[in-house]
Symmetry: C2
Amino acid sequence: MTRGNFILKGDIAWSKDPKTIETKKGAFLVCREGKSAGVFQHIPGEYKNLPVIDYSPALIIPGLTDLHMHAPQFGFRALGMDEELLEWLNKRAFPEEDKYADLAYANRAYFFLRENLKKSPNTRIVLFGTMHVKATVLLMKLLEESGLVCLVGKVNMDRNCPDYLREKDAAASLAATREWLLECGNGAAGGGGKVRPILTPRFIPSCSDELMEGLARLQKEFSLPLQSHLSENRKEIGWVRELCPKSDSYGDAYAKYGFFDGKAPVVMAHCVWSDEKEMELLRERGVYIAHCADSNTNLSSGIAPVRRFIEMGVPLGLGSDVAGGTHISIFRAMCDAIKVSKLRSVLVEPDKMPLTVEEAFYLGTAGGASFFEKAGFGPSGSFEAGCELDALVIDDRTISFLCDLSVRDRLERVLYLSDERDIKAKYVQGGEIETR
Amino acid sequence: MTRGNFILKGDIAWSKDPKTIETKKGAFLVCREGKSAGVFQHIPGEYKNLPVIDYSPALIIPGLTDLHMHAPQFGFRALGMDEELLEWLNKRAFPEEDKYADLAYANRAYFFLRENLKKSPNTRIVLFGTMHVKATVLLMKLLEESGLVCLVGKVNMDRNCPDYLREKDAAASLAATREWLLECGNGAAGGGGKVRPILTPRFIPSCSDELMEGLARLQKEFSLPLQSHLSENRKEIGWVRELCPKSDSYGDAYAKYGFFDGKAPVVMAHCVWSDEKEMELLRERGVYIAHCADSNTNLSSGIAPVRRFIEMGVPLGLGSDVAGGTHISIFRAMCDAIKVSKLRSVLVEPDKMPLTVEEAFYLGTAGGASFFEKAGFGPSGSFEAGCELDALVIDDRTISFLCDLSVRDRLERVLYLSDERDIKAKYVQGGEIETR
């Protein structure tokens, strides 16, 4: 078959909008030049000559999108889970990240991560690397070979971190960032690869004002997307208040550095404790939130006000936040988002309805995928005509035993019960990638 | 090898007490007549002739205990998860339970459940059946063949439930209960089987006063353990207040029926909204709580005050509560218990510390296992000498890749990351059971 030109047959489901899962049983998903030409109950005449891959009775759904994860933390996920954020960073995350100065270690660890990402239901991923230029370039190379669509960041940090991880000063950090952009061969947004750079100041406490201002200039010079952390934890917010006394809020501090003025999109992880004013700022500037329910629970951060984000229209997707979160699968992130929204509704805000399966599925597909579109890729996360074709083929027969279910209900069970064994095939931008 | 007389070698871990996980690397767990004779770094002379099964470098830990699950709900777990308790019961649980009037359906569904339980890390399980005598006897027979230790209840319900599931009246329900006790051949506690009966009034709203009083008499006549639901949901508590106007609390209503006076133990699922007085009543009468964190989250019930239960000394174990919960594994229940305790601490009670890995592991092993001891089985849930030997052999090599970890830290990762594929062998009362 010509790469990118084929038809997939199965029971097809995708988000039409945040409230609606569209389903078609025994239907045909047409892929032309790597893009969806739509879902049809019968093959339209113009596509009669395309090869049909019949996956019936499997489910076919869009690939999932992870807006926040830390590549170097995958190897030690699910360790030290009884600790809070700042303790966990110092005892677990930083000592592990230091190991990536050693390229042999980085190669072993990132290869292991890459193989796990291939088997996962995720097709588009935004990742933190470490502060190391070479290791981050290596990560990007490994990911490029996988076929996954990724935005990867070399981390910047020049203060309030262990000596062994601190970049000498703002100038050194900025120079290393330019070196990284040059080496990954992809400095300008729109470079053709599947794996592209995203600027990655760790968070305000670990970046000096001078570094932040320099990064904001780089962001505009190269029209680069940017990721960081925001309002995850109350202690952290208090700390930022001390560090940035002239800012109204943690978010406002990022805005004052100039990060929210660029053309390329910005994604901030967490926003558990954002107040109305900070949310309004994010909405106004079109800043994405990566909602990471599992991590916010594990690190005792709290429960983000996701219903309020949705009401206000802040752009929103889901993040695994490995290794604050323990699992890379965005199916898991969808269920976690639903679950914590129920607890928030019972315990904090009885007037805010919990997330539905429909909404969580939307956030983990089309919602997060729109970030990649803003970052220069084609539209994705859906099977509407014109979308880059990221698709998962899921054999749910062992899960659905005993029950005769609608496609929508089968999808709900897949969210809660499936694992990587159930993924029969996975396509990214119209190309099949290995999952075994 | 003589059944029940052997030695297991591996990296061994068990709860010494709620705060301490004892570990021994490359050690020997001696099994004599189905019971632990202790864990040794070198094989004592008196056991030199026992066969050694070397599972190194696998972990060996006690089997897990599920104090609450609904056997007929396994087939439809992870469906209708956007609904609250009473809606979900009427739309999902009751129509499904009705199908168990058909023994062919019951056989198919319970066989499927049984095969999944064998593969799971659980070795002792307390289950609700349905109100059907024949189907419940069939479930007990299927479970007896598996080698798992189980307490199984025929459900009683004679009001406030759909006509198709309601027992005609209290007398009919009590007669059916006697018939069930006779048919399962195990009416008196201490009957020798691995699977034994437990009285199971569904909950106060679905049982008339006359039925409850009759069941309390049966409980004493046969010295039977008993299970039910308590204070799961605020609407439900309001309903019980209307139904039992003379009782101080939902728990007090059970006490007034006489359920808390028997010799055999009682386990109540949930207790999410128990107040101090109800908790004190449970503690005083030695009533067990089955803490079901996943279910309480999924059904928007809330977060149970587990730290307070522990401080007060209420006997406590974990429950999967399938299908309010979606997963049978008590590893998952341990992690869920830790996670929701963190959210309760952040959002409700900052002065209450979250559960630790040590505590959750204790609750899911020795904590829950003590219920079975009170119900007439031997002690279990630990490897202290004299305990019935329930053991899991877990090959965690894929999980622990990249890290050189202590046995305790490997165990933490197993809680969060393992699944049934990692279980290499499983022993119950000193006998190996099939997990493939």
